[in-house]
């Protein structure tokens, strides 16, 4: 007799986070994944880095990595945060994780109980959203525009909750090249957001996974965490978007008093030390040239996607014009249903992320996200053409 698992499972967790089964399909035109571009990684340089790392750190590969991960890579990360994001921090505050998602997961483990309220952008990254829903968090979307999360609306939401005796546990925002909306939060909004966080005593979880992907200009406002003098901001980001997603490496930066509570969780278990060694070895010598190579490739792809949308999509649709990052956010006319249409486009070899995936309530089906990091510019052009013809045929454009 098989075990009846039903009465064994934990009741703290939701088992019914709705995902679209079509997203597991493999298609020629993959507009649904933000993969680092494998072609931008030079095999020779990376293999050399791997050899050097393995020769010089053999003993470390046998051992259990330190709980917060590879020291050299954390040191490099601290330098980079200071130089590029204006944030001075100690190596001790940084822990490595399995992607930025792995860092977010351990933060949620420490903070989120069922029913806790988390305020997020109007649309937000499906991975972290799924983690919150799984923990039965009460996720509330805050209106968000081309300057980032609308801080007036945020303040209203907090006051509204307070009038019911409730206080959010956390504000989660993607502050640079937003996933999926594409914009970067303005300096003024950052200051206001921080002020709200301080005044109401609600920590901010800042996700800057896309900060390395400026395409048009380099003048990002400083990270929110760099402006915080009250230990109110927790920061997560990723190396793997830059180098290779297969490495599964990201990191978190936490205030000391949060760090204490992650220690018993051993920071979620260190990620592959082999991957950390190689990334450290490679980025130490090649970071800037690599970022530039990635920028040029992303620029060609983004331009191809925007041109293809201009060419193939009707004027009833609008879309973001990102100056960095890896995705374009498309709005179709009211009544369009990108969730239902996905099966049809997959049959035609095209995959994208339907808008509802970015919403806790799985609403707003007239949006979709197109990531341009995976395919070549030529494929992007073809793929958008196919996508438009399927939408046309299925009446998705209205």
């Amino acid at each position: 007799m098989a075990v009846n698992y039903e009465n064994l499972f934990s009741t703290r967790h939701s088992t019914s986070v709705k995902l679209h089964p079509g997203l597991l399909a493999v298609t020629k035109y993959e507009f649904s994944v933000t993969n680092a571009d494998p072609e931008s990684l030079p095999a020779g340089g990376f293999t050399d880095a791997l050899r050097t790392a393995m020769r010089t750190q053999t003993r470390d590969l046998a051992k259990y990595p330190p709980p917060q991960g590879h020291f050299g890579l954390r040191e490099l990360t601290a330098q980079n945060l200071e130089e590029k994001r204006g944030h001075k921090t100690s190596i001790d505050s940084i822990f490595l994780s399995g992607g930025a998602g792995g860092a977010a997961q351990i933060i949620f483990d420490a903070f989120i109980d069922p029913g806790d309220i988390v305020l997020v952008d109007e649309f937000t990254y499906p991975g972290t959203l799924a983690m919150l829903l799984l923990r039965r968090a009460n996720v509330i979307h805050v209106p968000t525009d081309d300057q980032g999360m609308n801080t007036d609306a945020l303040e209203n939401a907090i006051q509204e909750l307070a009038s019911h005796g409730k206080r959010p546990t956390m504000i989660y925002t993607i502050s640079v090249y937003h996933n999926p909306m594409g914009m970067t939060m303005s300096l003024e909004r950052r200051k206001r957001l921080l002020e709200i966080s301080h005044r109401h005593g609600i920590p901010i979880l800042e996700n800057e996974s896309y900060a390395d992907f400026a395409i048009d200009d380099d003048s990002l406002p400083p990270a929110i965490i760099s402006m915080d003098d009250q230990d109110s901001v927790i920061y997560v980001s990723s190396f793997t978007k830059l180098l290779a997603c297969g490495l599964r490496l990201g990191y978190g930066v936490v205030p000391q008093r949060v760090r204490r509570h992650l220690e018993p969780l051993r920071f979620g278990g260190s990620p592959s030390h082999l991957a950390s060694m190689v990334v450290h070895e490679y980025l130490r010598d090649h970071r800037d040239e690599h970022v530039e190579r990635v920028r040029l490739r992303l620029k060609a792809k983004r331009d191809a996607l925007l041109a293809a949308l201009d060419n193939y999509f009707p004027p009833t649709c609008t879309w973001s014009k990102p100056t960095g990052g890896m995705m374009v956010w498309v709005r179709l006319p009211e009544g369009a249903n990108t969730w239902d249409a996905l099966d049809k486009t997959i049959e035609a070899g095209v995959k994208y992320n339907p808008g509802p995936l970015f919403r806790a309530e799985r609403d707003r089906p007239n949006y979709l996200r197109l990531a341009y990091s995976h395919n070549s510019p030529e494929e992007i052009w073809e793929g958008v053409g196919i996508l438009a013809s399927v939408f046309e045929r299925e009446g998705v454009f209205g």
Partner: protein, 411 residues
């Protein structure tokens, strides 16, 4: 003026976070640098097959660009196939690659299982001393400790645990147990004992979480079928293993075997984008050509180390104390002579640069001052010899002090 604390962390933390702070390992050390580590169960660095590994890594990077992309959530399929192949060859166990999940070390599998199954206040069974203490401290669990004798978990204790939970209006949800070369006890559960535990699991509907981290490293005696293999339904057991012990802990790769239903529930908690495809491919490429010969080499290496450690204990303590005689794995559990204090011995060893672990850290209630866990895996043969000599001296010194105190007291 008092510094304003703008967000009150304690009021925001999840209800489990506070409980977890008890789950940490404390080496009981002082400010002296450790010269000899006979505490942590990590692999022998000298046995890392660097040249073959680098060659494998080079081949992967030049031929398989998918190593750089996001992977399958269940884990790299050829690695799952390799896990199945290893089970067949070493254990005559037939398992389908689809019944295998690749994790970030076996620790992740155990933590995910705890997340999936355990609510605050739930009851579980655990070996009387266990590595798992630090994991489950974090989940607000009620743990009933099952004593072991030389043949494994004592069945009467398993039954008593089931009854105790029932008396509290609860049921046992799982038994977390380490059947082979138990960590820290160094004993292996016999097959009849395993069958009896499994029968109770089926009767009372609890899951066996079988932590089999050391199964490949048996130095002598014949393989004993795992709980997973004994369970015909293949659904009563979740078995977790690792490449940390036979390859290296830094690679962070483990495997889990269970029913597809349970694995899919676990995968629900695996939102880390899949275990590193990069490391998975390099390990697979290396293991394909070298796995079994490498395991054979390791068995020789660790058998020698164990012999040196056991020999040292015999020489230094004779019949004054007792210890387990592991047939494999990494650990020896030392029962101190009457009156000796594990806490004092650990501190005294640390002052002499030798790191050993107080057995209390493996007890759910933390109450034990008469056991020490040793590991022979990481140190060199010379270091083991020296470390054990120091340990034996300190054990005898601690026992003698207590004899002296007792003697004074009786006057």
């Amino acid at each position: 003026m008092q510094q304003t604390t703008l967000f009150s962390l304690d009021s925001l933390l999840s209800s489990d976070a506070a409980a977890r702070s008890q789950g940490q390992m404390d080496r009981g050390g002082v400010g002296v640098e450790t010269r000899i580590s006979i505490d942590v169960g990590q692999p022998d660095p000298a046995s890392m097959p660097m040249d073959d590994l680098i060659a494998a890594a080079g081949r992967v990077l030049s031929t398989d660009r998918t190593a750089l992309l996001y992977g399958d959530r269940q884990g790299y399929a050829p690695l799952r196939k390799l896990v199945a192949h290893k089970a067949l060859r070493l254990e005559s166990l037939e398992v389908r690659p689809d019944d295998v999940l690749i994790t970030n070390g076996s620790g992740q599998a155990i933590a995910m299982t705890a997340q999936a199954l355990v609510d605050r206040g739930d009851w579980i069974l655990m070996d009387e001393a266990s590595w798992g203490v630090r994991v489950f401290k974090g989940f607000g669990t009620n743990v009933f400790s099952v004593r072991w004798d030389g043949d494994g978990p004592i069945i009467a204790d398993v039954k008593a645990g089931v009854a105790a939970a029932r008396d509290h209006g609860k049921r046992i949800k799982m038994f977390y147990t380490i059947p082979n070369f138990q960590n820290p006890l160094g004993i292996t559960a016999g097959v009849e004992r395993r069958k009896a535990v499994l029968d109770l699991a089926i009767e009372h509907g609890f899951l066996i979480l079988e932590d089999d981290a050391y199964v490949e490293l048996r130095f002598e005696g014949s393989h004993i079928p795992s709980y997973y293999q004994l369970d015909e339904s293949r659904s009563q057991v979740l078995r977790a293993g690792t490449f940390s012990k036979i390859f290296g802990a830094g690679i962070r790769l483990g495997w889990t075997m269970s029913s597809p239903e349970l694995l899919s529930a676990l995968t629900h908690y695996k939102l880390d984008g899949g275990t590193s495809p990069f490391s998975s491919r390099i390990l697979t490429e290396y293991m394909r050509g070298h796995m079994f010969e490498h395991i054979d080499e390791l068995i020789d290496v660790y058998r020698d180390k164990r012999d040196v450690m056991i020999g040292g204990l015999q020489k230094g303590l004779g019949s004054r104390a007792s210890w387990s005689q592991p047939e494999g794995g990494f650990f020896v559990w030392v029962s101190l002579p009457e009156g000796a204090s594990a806490e004092n011995v650990c501190a005294a060893c640390a002052r002499r640069g030798v790191s050993v672990w107080n057995g209390a850290q493996f007890r759910w209630d933390g109450r034990d001052d008469s056991h020490i866990r040793l590991s022979y895996s990481f140190a060199t043969l010379d270091e083991i010899e020296e470390g054990v000599t120091v340990l034996c001296e300190e054990i005898l010194r601690s026992a003698a002090q207590s004899d002296f105190v007792a003697g004074v007291g009786s006057r």
